[in-house]
Subunit: 348 residues, 2 copies
DNA sequence: ATGAAAGCGCTAACAG
DNA sequence: CTGTTAGCGCTTTCAT
């Protein structure tokens, strides 16, 4: 045996003087083993530093205990925190996570989707998609999306963007704003935070001012674009609801360079409320997403799907008797939404 | 065949009316194939939506094309960006990444180490370690550390912390500071940024003021601890060098609540310079780590080690002739350091 | 130019 | 209580 490569079951068996099966049994504590055998095997394992090859296990068991997570980039605190929470929730169930950063490129997202399927992950959680990549549709695998709905057949978990958008806007108004603008990444009916914003304004007969800077704008260009958008409406507005905290930071910077004091001349509220940004900008009033709840629920639904799929596979393989299976996790239609909460700072 | 599970090579072969071998050949474009065969196979693949099972491939080929990355948490922008850069660098070489967040818990880091070995990743990059976990030492696998040195035998890639610490401190002094404090996570000779700080001060005969708040302090407690540390030396100091940007943000918040204006009463310089924090706090003067360069170099060294290991394994397996192998990637001793650069804001 | 068969490391029937 | 054997899906000699 090459010393630089990992020992195998056979090595352990040989050293312990028993068969492969026996070793496998002590590893998985299945069936009856004499204490003596157990000890022999255990010491062989220890002395070789043996660790079961999960790849072989996966090949046999048809399951990798791994799920794929696709996000735009964990370099953004929101997705970084989301990834950590998903990882935590999965770890409790013995699963691990393969994180994929699409960087907003459809091409890359497609490649990752193939990679995940090729690696036979047990399921996928997607928190990023370039306006439905068709690959998502004909994927034969448990799938849950976070935040952006893909199709009614795919479970979607998110915070209640609509209500949150309305509440953020109302918070600006009750704070004294008369004309709040919206700064977001893309405008339209699918943008529920925008819908909430418009709803809050129409209740007060205020005309909306919607500014957009695309999500994947290179970081060096963002501030200039934000400045340009805000300058063009500076006379009209006295508050800004930015749909993410980093955009809110850019609004604050704009206000600073234009000599507008916050919140006196300009009120600002952000969105996400990640701990990293709350550390960086503790003064920012923002809407905090319940990231942990979202992650846990997405994981719960996904694992339910995986379980169901396994059952079906077993049934169609083993043939025959159904048994009473009333307690399966039911498929989820429609989005699952969690409430977001406003975190007070001094910018609004 | 169960419709919900992925098709296999055998399915493709059956549909195309050829043998497994042939299908495998067209997939890997090895040997001579008639155009007709190629076409038949290709269309069978397409119509089944077949994707090779990487798990099986890995089992056979004894390589997973996956490397593990261990970091404290990608929820912190520095490690989030590092993860993305490592992923990018690896992708260029056909490797993927398994990200593990240790959350600063030795227990969890140990588990992850086992997981990675169990999953037979081809190598590990570690950017986190609880004061050498012994497991790192007897690991039979290519390993590179980022930022923290583990042992002389393990390559270490980092920014030039010593020089950077000196320069940051000098920047405060040339800006007009007379007594800059250091705020860091743990003090001692292994903290090279601190060493640089002390060096810059001793050149000017200034007595150091070193404040510490442990790295893994829960976020809710941090500000209070920072406040407490700073209050205790408020009379002495007129500047702070914080060894990460988030700590610098906490210093700014302290200054704000104490009515100290920055940079007039208090100069502040941070460390890391991630894009996320630069977006959040564009005014912060900081030392920017060359994250991309670090990631690329770590990957380069690791892939070199993997290549070398494979060669050795082949040699010891196939037995015999060495051949001329002068162009191997040489093992790296001593750390590889990249220069960090100061990014100007208005806080210093 | 194509196929048959062995084997990667492990688990699970199926014997004893 | 323990061993033998047959795969999981793929690559790779070795034949033909």
């Amino acid at each position: 045996m090459n010393p630089r490569s990992e020992p195998t079951l056979a090595d352990v068996a040989a050293l312990a003087g028993v068969s492969l099966t026996t070793v496998s049994r002590v590893l998985n504590s299945r069936g009856y083993l004499s204490q003596e055998t157990k000890d022999k095997v255990a010491s062989a394992i220890a002395s070789l530093g043996y660790r079961p090859n999960q790849v072989a296990r996966a090949l046999h068991g048809m399951r990798t205990q791994t799920i794929g997570l696709i996000v735009p980039t964990v370099a953004l605190p929101f997705f970084g925190e989301l990834a950590v929470e998903v990882e935590n929730a999965l770890a409790e169930h013995g699963y691990r996570i393969l994180i994929c950063n699409s960087l907003g490129k459809a091409e890359r997202e497609r490649e990752y989707l193939n990679l995940l399927v090729g690696n036979r992950v047990d399921g996928i959680i997607s928190g990023a998609h370039n306006e439905d990549l068709e690959e998502y549709h004909d994927i034969r695998m448990p799938l849950v999306t976070i935040d952006r709905a893909l199709s009614p057949a795919v479970p979607n978990v998110r915070c209640d963007n609509h209500a949150a958008g309305r509440e953020a806007t109302e918070r600006l108004l009750t704070g004294g704003a008369r004309r709040p603008a919206l700064l977001t990444s893309s405008s339209g009916p699918q943008n529920l935070r925008e819908t909430g914003y418009r709803e809050a304004l129409s209740a007060k007969k205020i005309t909306p001012v919607v500014l957009t800077v695309p999500f994947h704008t290179p970081v060096e260009q963002r501030q200039a674009m934000v400045d340009e958008r805000l300058d063009s409406v500076a006379e009209l507005i006295d508050a800004v609801f930015a749909t993410d905290d980093l955009a809110a930071a850019e609004v604050l910077e704009w206000a600073r360079t234009r000599g507008l004091s916050v919140p006196e001349h300009l009120r600002v509220i952000g969105f996400d409320g990640t701990s990293a940004i709350r550390r960086a900008l503790p003064g920012l009033t923002t809407v905090r997403q319940p990231i942990e709840a979202i992650a846990r629920e997405a994981v719960r639904i996904l694992l339910g799907q995986i379980e169901t799929a396994r059952r079906q596979r077993r049934r169609s393989a083993g043939g025959g008797q159904d048994g009473a299976l009333g307690n399966e996790v039911r498929p989820v239609y429609g989005p699952v939404e969690f409430p977001a909460t406003i975190v007070e700072g001094w910018t609004a």
